[in-house]
Symmetry: C2
Subunit: 327 residues, 2 copies
């Protein structure tokens, strides 16, 4: 029986062994750079563990594991371009290190490379597997568009439900899809595949809500980056949207006005003011409770899956790591 | 037996019947706009005709026909963004009509939609078909990167062979790939698939070389756009590269210097001067001969394909239309 550490190590090895460089260099160097920047590698880890859960053979899903992470990194590369983010995992983003055209084309190529990895391994369920991957990809694009629409609409015109629907598409379906692909390769029964997918959705929602929480309440020393960046960027996240549901009218108006201010002369004062409002409405415990509830739903869904408890252990371990994470 | 007109009409109908609009609108409206702009629809037409050549069933390749054209239009959408082209088929390009982020994300989604169409139809050879499509996609990206590299390198440092390799990847492999996919769906023997692929490469090279010729020597009234745009853009094409092989040293130096000039005050004088140089080196008949030779290779390859002559007729007709085209 493999534990979480085994799967994380296997995924690291997989990326270390793979060559991403080819001709023309101008196209592949940014791809190699992106895929070697690291990250948590959550999606391929979920895929391998889900496959093992139903007795799959690891060597049959290594292509899909590479593919799902390559796809994920493609979306980050294009998102960073669209969001004009200067840094990713502490390093310059591709459009900054190279240029915008490189970001567009190297990203496109990564999407195709993800397909190459997915197509590496035959399977009697290949069409189902590829459909799952592709419908996931489409949802991720739709989620990103909704996220961009929110920024244009402004905080006051986005509901918490809109937001949860957006992060489901932008983040959660890819975790769910990774699990489903792993299970499909193993020939898991449909009902089990569906439960695993549901587990992934809960896990993904909890993960993103916690990401939003850490941006406001992370311990800078552990978090590794400055907190409050979402506030500086007027980014619509789970925090201000939940705060609005708790605020009285004057608090609501102040929050909306703070999130509508661009180019504030004193950004740190703005961050402090928003955080004070969050505290005043009692935001933190409410958000922590909601995140805990989502993790609890994930846990209960995993409990219902008909598989060997020892094989579920790595998924449980990953979930508990994410639940307790400080960065 | 269907003729070319039948296939062109079938493809038009296919696009007319398809709904490209979905939520969020901001994502799908540019996709609908792009896919309804028209164009020659050469790739899906080749795919349908190649399928019929080996007794395939038309309804089985309609998804692939939609997919190959959706992919092609995705590459045009991203190319227009990267090349900063204001117009496509006489209409504003997506990044101009909307914005750059829309062009990035709607393009990404079109790539995924192309996959959705490709996955619509099961086939015992699905993995081969999808591999063919995907390896083609990767080559198209590599070709586009090489094209962008050329612009940076400058005319004097690109050889005719480099150029032919680039247009093979950027243009020819997609025509060849469309034919191959059609033939694979029909279960054609490998040797025939290879011949059809080779036919597509010759056709694609001839097509692009002629495109380059028309930019310089097209009849504006028929061509539908101003000639000489490649010269104004210092675009490295088959014309200046072939001219360099025919020029003496002073002519070579003048041509290189003209193609290195940016923001010329009198662009039309520059176009006239380059065209005069082309005439002086006797460019036009040489290029026309080379294009004719490439079409002849396509013709001879088609001749060698073991299929009913009546079924080859639409491919022949399409080839002769392209050979004689004035726009």
């Amino acid at each position: 029986m493999n534990n979480l550490k085994y799967y994380l190590g296997r995924v690291e090895q997989l990326f270390a062994d793979e060559c991403f460089l080819a001709e023309p260099r101008e196209l592949y160097e940014p791809i190699d750079y992106t895929l070697r920047l690291g990250g948590k590698r959550i999606r391929p880890t979920l895929l391998l563990a889900a496959n093992a859960l139903f007795g799959g053979r690891e060597e049959e899903v290594l292509g899909a594991a590479l593919g799902i992470e390559t796809f994920h990194n493609f979306t980050l590369l294009h998102d960073d371009l669209m969001d004009r983010s200067p840094l990713r995992r502490g390093q310059p983003t591709v459009y900054r290190k190279w240029d915008e055209n490189t970001a567009v084309l190297s990203g496109d190529t990564m999407f195709a490379l993800a397909w190459r990895y997915f197509l590496r391994q035959p399977s009697p369920r290949l069409r189902d597997i590829l459909n799952c991957f592709n419908e996931t990809a489409i949802e991720v694009c739709e989620g990103q568009q909704k996220d961009m629409n929110f920024e244009r609409r402004g905080l006051g015109r986005v509901s918490l439900d809109d937001y949860l629907d957006m992060i489901r598409q932008k983040t959660a379906v890819l975790l769910a899809g990774a699990l489903k692909v792993g299970a499909l390769y193993a020939g898991a029964p449909e009902a089990q595949v569906d439960l695993l997918y549901a587990f992934g959705l809960h896990l993904g929602l909890a993960f993103q809500m916690q990401d939003d929480l850490l941006d406001g309440y992370g311990d800078t020393a552990v978090f590794g980056k400055k907190t409050g960046q979402d506030i500086r960027d007027n980014k619509i996240s789970y925090l201000p949207l939940t705060a609005l549901t708790l605020a009285d009218e004057p608090q609501r108006e102040e929050l909306l006005s703070l999130f509508a201010t661009k180019d504030t002369p004193d950004e740190e004062a703005k961050v402090r003011r928003v955080m004070a409002l969050y505290d005043a409405v009692g935001l933190r415990p409410v958000v922590e409770q909601n995140i805990a509830r989502e993790f609890q739903s994930a846990r209960q869904t995993l409990d219902r899956i008909a598989a060997d408890e020892a094989l579920k252990a790595p998924l449980r371990e990953l979930m508990e790591t994410l639940d307790g994470r400080k960065k």
